[in-house]
């Protein structure tokens, strides 16, 4: 944090809605297997409506309104019961009609908020200005000397979620974005894949002398495609603006782009070049009137939200707050965790006893494996049943922590049962006192100096003895048991 300046940050998020069909026609909004329509054969996922053929007319997809309502109701917004779509007019080759259908003066949701955990102990209320529905454009692909347009994505539904300028650090912006991401994925309205552009973010950034009331001139950083890059882009931009202002310069209102390779932002176009979008109500779509009863039905059908889930994980499963926050940030991790705990409960373990180890493995080892291989946990062969077995066997000291990691890696890859992996790899711990005593005696005999020191009170050396015994037994000994035995032996 800069001693003299503070930053003011607002985020605009475009979330692609995971409806079956596009917003104004019957073309697919995602492929049958849930993957992006961008992967379909070029321009195959189009019709006269989304390709902007002369004479074709839009018809609103009811499901899009429902999804937008879910987003608004989950973020405490006021719902507008009369919805109007407007035309945002501009020329670009991947905009087939020459205008984008969007909401302008009358967005479906207004004035909500999100309580974002900005640290272990602190939450910050971030206000939402609006959520509105709109259609996505096609995609331009540029080559040297020419460009091509793919309209497969044209007409895929989006909601734009606009925050108030309530954020003041890159970390807060990141926390808000993660929280929002967790909500839209938990609601089942967005796949949330940032690399594929399901969840895109523009950041509005300005700086002002600390404590000043007036806002500085802002710049807008466009389309950053990961949480980390959003934070880094904002961080760079704040530093750039502070340096500029301190040097007597002026921030120019402009749109900037983030270059993640060089970690800097670059000017795209200034306000003078900004377009006049000539918004006006689309005469092809009548105002959409929402019935209160329908809104209430959707409100009642909302799933548990990440913040609520987090509280429940802490309360019912005894999961540490930091772990709970990570788990609820991803719907699939949270679901995996619950399924594992359910398995363990069925075999008689208390949920509060099961929660902590299950969460530890998920947040630690499983996430590490997922990141390493660029996969989701659900894309591996490992199931909640596997993880439950691992937790149980570790708890019963049948396998060691180290052994458990080996088992998990193997089950992740092959999907074999835990029992068969433990047996095949000989990972069963030696918990038989009779079998361990000879090894302990051997270690004690070989290390008289350490024995003397331990006896003189150097308790730390216990670990040394345990380690030696483990080595002696090829890692199969139950370390806790070894510790107990060593202690008894040397008393």
């Amino acid at each position: 944090m800069h001693p003299e300046f503070e930053a003011v940050i607002g985020l605009e998020v475009h979330a692609q809605l995971s409806t079956q069909s596009k917003i104004f026609c019957g073309c697919r909004a995602r492929l049958a297997d849930g993957t992006s329509v961008a992967d379909a054969a070029v321009n195959s996922n189009t019709c006269p409506v989304c390709a902007g053929h002369p004479g074709a007319l839009p018809v609103l997809n009811r499901r899009v309104v429902e999804y937008a309502l879910r987003a608004g109701l989950a973020t405490n917004c006021r719902i507008r019961t009369t919805n109007v779509f407007a035309r945002k007019n501009y020329f670009y080759p991947d905009l087939p009609k020459g205008y984008q259908l969007s909401q302008y003066e009358e967005p479906i949701c207004e004035g909500g908020y999100l309580d974002v955990a900005v640290s272990e102990t602190e939450t910050k209320r971030v206000r939402l200005q609006r959520i509105h529905m709109e259609e996505d454009a096609g995609k331009s692909v540029h080559f040297p000397g020419y460009s091509l347009v793919n309209l497969n994505r044209a007409g895929v539904p989006l909601i734009e979620i606009v925050s108030a300028p309530d954020l003041s650090t890159p970390a807060e912006a990141g926390a808000y974005l993660r929280s929002l991401h967790a909500i839209v994925t938990a609601l089942g309205i967005c796949d949330g894949n940032m690399q594929e552009g399901n969840f895109r973010c523009d950041a509005n950034v300005s700086v002002r002398p600390r404590g000043a009331r007036e806002l500085g001139t802002r710049t807008e950083i466009k389309n950053v495609n990961s949480f980390r890059f959003v934070e880094k882009a904002i961080e760079y931009e704040i530093a750039r603006q502070i340096q500029l202002v301190k040097g007597g310069g002026k921030v120019v209102q402009e749109t900037r782009t983030y270059d993640s390779d060089r970690n800097l932002t670059l000017s795209m176009r200034s306000k003078e070049e900004a377009e006049d979008y000539r918004y006006f109500p689309d005469p092809d779509l009548l105002p959409v009137l929402l019935e209160e009863a329908w809104i209430e039905e959707i409100r009642r059908g909302l799933p548990e939200l990440p913040e609520q889930k987090k509280a429940r994980f802490i309360r019912d499963f005894g999961i540490a707050p930091a772990d709970a926050a990570i788990l609820v940030g991803s719907r699939e991790l949270a679901d995996f965790c619950e399924a594992t705990i359910a398995e363990l409960s069925r075999s008689g373990m208390e949920p509060r006893a099961a929660g902590k180890p299950a969460a530890n493995w998920l947040v630690g080892e499983l996430r590490r494996l997922a990141n390493e291989q660029g996969l989701e946990v659900s894309q591996s062969c490992l199931t909640p049943g596997h993880l439950a077995d691992v937790v149980r066997l570790t708890q019963e000291q049948v396998i060691s922590g180290q052994g458990a990691k080996t088992v998990i890696a193997e089950a992740w890859r092959t999907g074999e049962t835990i029992a068969s992996i433990v047996d095949a790899q000989g990972l069963r711990q030696v918990s038989d006192t009779g079998a361990l005593v000879p090894a302990i005696d051997k270690v004690i005999a070989a290390n008289p100096k350490q024995v003397a020191e331990f006896k003189a009170g150097k308790e730390k050396l216990l670990g040394f003895f345990v380690g030696q015994v483990m080595k002696e037994t090829g890692g199969k000994a139950n370390p806790a048991l070894v510790g107990d035995l060593v202690r008894k032996r040397l008393k």
């Binding site: 004479g55 918004y279 006006f280 009548l286």
Partner: protein, 481 residues
């Protein structure tokens, strides 16, 4: 022979009596179109027409008689204004920009007519993108009046009006944004109906001004117009603005109207300076005829109607500036060479392909919607539009129909108004209010002037009052014959 078979009823009687077959009739019309010097058609779809006629012929052979309930348009040759798309048939909108555009789908209204057995002869000329009132704005040359070749047929559905008037088809489709069906119908002496906004699907109609555009029939009789309307009207799930409960005007409504107590509103605003004396005389004579039949004439006021032209030319051009944005040379329109420096240069070149009138309107519309001006122009126009509609709502509390002239004059000479857009715009002064208010209105022939040029009578009804409107026009058409 086509000259003697002017209506659908006559065509079907001839089929029933085996005096003529659908193939013979279609060939005859195709020959007449080929021989015509009116320039009414931009594209003749001979193959499609003959294919459809062949199917009609086979059906007729099987059935013995025309199944008038099931296939009310069996074998009836129609012409379609070239701003309605038909799958695989070139649609130009009379613009260089769309000279080579072949659409991949068919407009709902055309599909419904064809499903009822109609034969599509071809696509008729219009003012480019339906912008104009004389059909002189076509990129492919003006259309000539059916009987007076030195005169315009009116516009923008001038090709359809001439085709019907000159016996080049039995009936036709036009579109009406500010009078584009009624004006040419009156100039060419045919019947033209602009339905209630939402009455006929706009899916497949290349948009000029979406909140004003309506597709409607042009025909040699009110009965034929009613039949076409009945077949193509009604809700279309592909058009959000098409009315769910649209009252399709049944031909049943064409029985003897109950004149007793029928109140016809006569707005003083329709009898203003500039109205040609012969048109005024003919209109007053028609009113007297209605009165004589038992209707009651009631003076009504439409105080905001005088703003109609101004309001129309703000709203229509604003919507048009956006509707025509897609003709940018990327997918539709003239393709620049690709060597342009940047996108701006690319667009400049591509959009140079529009005609002068279209450019004028795009520029006006862009201005009217632009930041800092939209409040004073576009939005103000929308507010006044509401007042104009309110005037009609109030008037229709007191009357059942409103009657007046269609146009201040009769068909003018080619080139006469071309250099004076304002005068051309004022020509729409009596037709525009129905579009702004979304009302059904029609033009029915009402005699001729001293040059032998047809005069039209305009009737307007409340929204979805087509049955009453067509019933009165039908009675007038019969009674005055």
């Amino acid at each position: 022979m086509t000259q003697t078979l002017r209506t659908i009823r006559e065509v079907h009687d001839a089929f029933d009596q085996k005096r003529l077959s659908p193939m013979e009739l279609t060939r005859e019309y195709l020959r007449a179109i080929g021989a015509s010097r009116h320039n009414a058609f931009l594209t003749v779809c001979e193959e499609r027409a003959l294919g459809q006629a062949k199917v009609a012929e086979a059906l007729l052979a099987r059935e013995g008689r025309v199944p008038r309930e099931r296939l009310p348009l069996l074998g009836v040759p129609l012409a379609i204004k070239d701003n309605l798309v038909i799958d695989s048939i070139r649609t130009t909108c009379a613009s260089r920009i769309l000279e080579n555009y072949v659409p991949p789908y068919t407009a709902t209204c055309v599909a419904r007519l064809e499903a009822a057995g109609a034969v599509t002869l071809g696509k008729t000329s219009l003012d480019e993108f339906a912008m104009g009132g004389s059909n002189e704005n076509s990129a492919f040359g003006p259309v000539l009046h059916p009987t007076h070749p030195d005169r315009v047929p009116g516009g923008s559905s001038g090709g359809s009006a001439t085709a019907v008037g000159a016996g080049l088809c039995v009936a036709a489709l036009g579109s009406d944004t500010g009078g584009s069906i009624r004006l040419p119908a009156s100039y060419c002496g045919v019947v033209g109906v602009k339905p209630t906004y939402g009455g006929v699907s706009r899916y497949g109609l290349v948009a000029f001004a979406s909140s004003l555009d309506q597709v409607g029939p042009m025909a040699n009789s009110v009965e034929d117009a009613a039949l076409l309307l009945e077949v193509m009207g009604g809700h279309d799930p592909r058009d959000s603005t098409s009315a769910v409960a649209a009252a399709t005007p049944a031909r049943d409504a064409l029985g003897e109207p109950d004149w007793r107590g029928l109140r016809i509103g006569v707005p003083e605003e329709f009898f203003v300076e500039g109205l040609a004396p012969e048109v005024e005389r003919a209109t007053r004579a028609a009113l007297s005829w209605f009165e004589k039949e038992g209707a009651k004439l009631v003076p009504v006021r439409l105080p905001h109607a005088k703003h109609s032209v101004a309001v129309y030319y703000l709203i229509a051009v604003s919507e048009a500036s956006s509707n025509l944005a897609r003709f940018d040379g990327v997918r539709y329109g003239t393709r620049p060479s690709g060597e342009e420096r940047d996108l701006a240069a690319f667009y400049r070149k591509a959009r140079a392909g529009f005609g002068a009138e279209v450019k004028r309107r795009i520029i006006l519309g862009t201005f009217a919607l632009s930041s800092g001006y939209a409040e004073a122009y576009y939005r103000r126009a929308c507010q006044v539009r509401r007042l104009i509609k309110d005037d009609f709502d109030r008037a229709f509390e007191k009357v059942d129909l409103i009657a007046g002239p269609v146009s201040p004059g009769t068909a003018f000479k080619l080139g006469e108004k071309l250099t004076d857009p304002l005068r051309m715009y004022l020509n729409d002064i009596f037709t525009i209010p129905a579009n702004l208010a979304g009302l059904p209105a029609l033009s029915v022939p009402n005699g001729k002037d001293a040059h032998g040029l047809p005069i039209g009578l305009q009737l307007l009804a409340p929204q979805f009052g087509e049955a009453r409107l067509l019933g009165a026009a039908h009675a007038f058409e019969k009674g005055r014959a």
